[in-house]
Subunit: 286 residues, 2 copies
Amino acid sequence: MSYPPFAVTVDIALFTIEDDIFKILLIERGGDPYCGDLALPGGFVLPDEDLDAAAARELEEETGLADDAWHLEQLAAYGDPARDPRMRTVTVAFWAITASLPRPRGGSDAAAAYLVPVDRIEGDHLRLAFDHDRIVEDAVDRIRSRLETTTIAAQFCPPAFTVAELRKVYETIWNTPLDPGNFQRFVRDSGAFTPVSSFKPIVHARATPHARVLEPAVALLGPSEGATDDTEAGSSADSAPSLDRLASGEKTVKRSRRGRPASRWMVREGRPGMLAKPLRRKTDDS
Amino acid sequence: MSYPPFAVTVDIALFTIEDDIFKILLIERGGDPYCGDLALPGGFVLPDEDLDAAAARELEEETGLADDAWHLEQLAAYGDPARDPRMRTVTVAFWAITASLPRPRGGSDAAAAYLVPVDRIEGDHLRLAFDHDRIVEDAVDRIRSRLETTTIAAQFCPPAFTVAELRKVYETIWNTPLDPGNFQRFVRDSGAFTPVSSFKPIVHARATPHARVLEPAVALLGPSEGATDDTEAGSSADSAPSLDRLASGEKTVKRSRRGRPASRWMVREGRPGMLAKPLRRKTDDS
DNA sequence: GCAAAAGTGTTCCATGTACACCCATGT
DNA sequence: ACATGGGTGTACATGGAACACTTTTGC
């Protein structure tokens, strides 16, 4: 049986928040078409590979992150016959989010990689290679609406996070201030999050340095039902930001916080899931 | 440059409502793999064709409907390496809805076509060819949620419809009763619909002989093809009784309906669009 | 007249919003 | 001590759910 042959690729729009700015990972093309332009990381799907697997592989190749450090979902397929001058190509676009990136490094066909603020593309209409402008636009829309109905926002945070950190994620991505009090109730009552209260050690991938692997979660917490808590709050101020600092590539996180020490939360049952009731944003900025 | 060659296909999940039952168009496979099984209509994407164009072409080939009689949107891409035993295939799935189907006819590689109730697949777990079970499941989910935020439900109705007809669409697809009074307000106040009140003629295919060119839309409502329940009344709003008489001068459709005559509505600005405020369903039946 | 369906009015209650206020801590 | 941000209480507005009620037609 004969059929028209296609090249099938995956492209990944990987988002993160750095310095309270919503950013996307882009690579500078070194190859033939659109050489020097910015583009989404991606590549061909291998003959024996599922689409999700291909996207995960490209993501790992491009960032070096462990595969539990991100959240990855399919966006859509794009197949304009003129989208790639070299050949007939259909790309399956994915969007992904992660708490932090080690340091963008160039992949196989990429000259360099950058974390670009999303509003540089939205607002300034920065042109990207191929039809990647449209893909990014669609991906941003998708993420903004997914924040309403799922807990993926927590994926922008370290495994244990404070209510304020999570709120800041929503505010950054939606570009809307949220009432701290009401958001507090949302985290407490939605059922999607649990306070980090147990003693079991959390083994997260980013806890790289040797001495910290077995660090119990209690070092990260606020008040537990256990005996001593306030003394560990000081330990919290010591260890938790060190993780941040490690992960964000020695970018010094502002350590000037005052006020009551925040208790930390995490997503129920590990991975992000659906919210029973959506968290609505009022202004829908297009 | 060499790359792994793929076959790229489109598959369309076309939904309609017949006899107040939510149904999907399926074909019985005549070809090689899964011969005799039910499958989604679809086919190869041509070398110079965009994905949407391929889906629209297949839809037209399969149903014979005009391209303004349906609503078509991309669902997702499916590319499991084992999904087609013949070759490495990626399919881009679409979902579509239409008010009514002429009479399912077999396409090129189809032995026959049927309108199958959706709950035959959801409830009875009717097995389909390839991974089409999953595609249908995803498509049904997508449509159910799209009803909340868009006006696509009107696409299941003739161009001009009564509030009760539209409500019945929601009730059928969501499988949930809705309060007639509240739904009335939704149609009136949402801003997404306008009453068919003006005199402007809608140029329609069935505007047959000369003298009837200026017939208002109210008299041209869709022919109900042998459905047991009719509700296709030539009756107009109370604003235009004379037109009603004009329309009923022609041998009109049978009407067993009782009660107050319903005024008719249509989607604002022609095609389906977004709702300013979503219409929420309470029970989310999975 | 009676039944059935369109369409309106109105009450009740859940939920979101705004904001005051207390609490705990770092400087 | 006091400024700062976490966290709680609460009053008010909004909007949907439920349902009574009127209107208009077919039988």
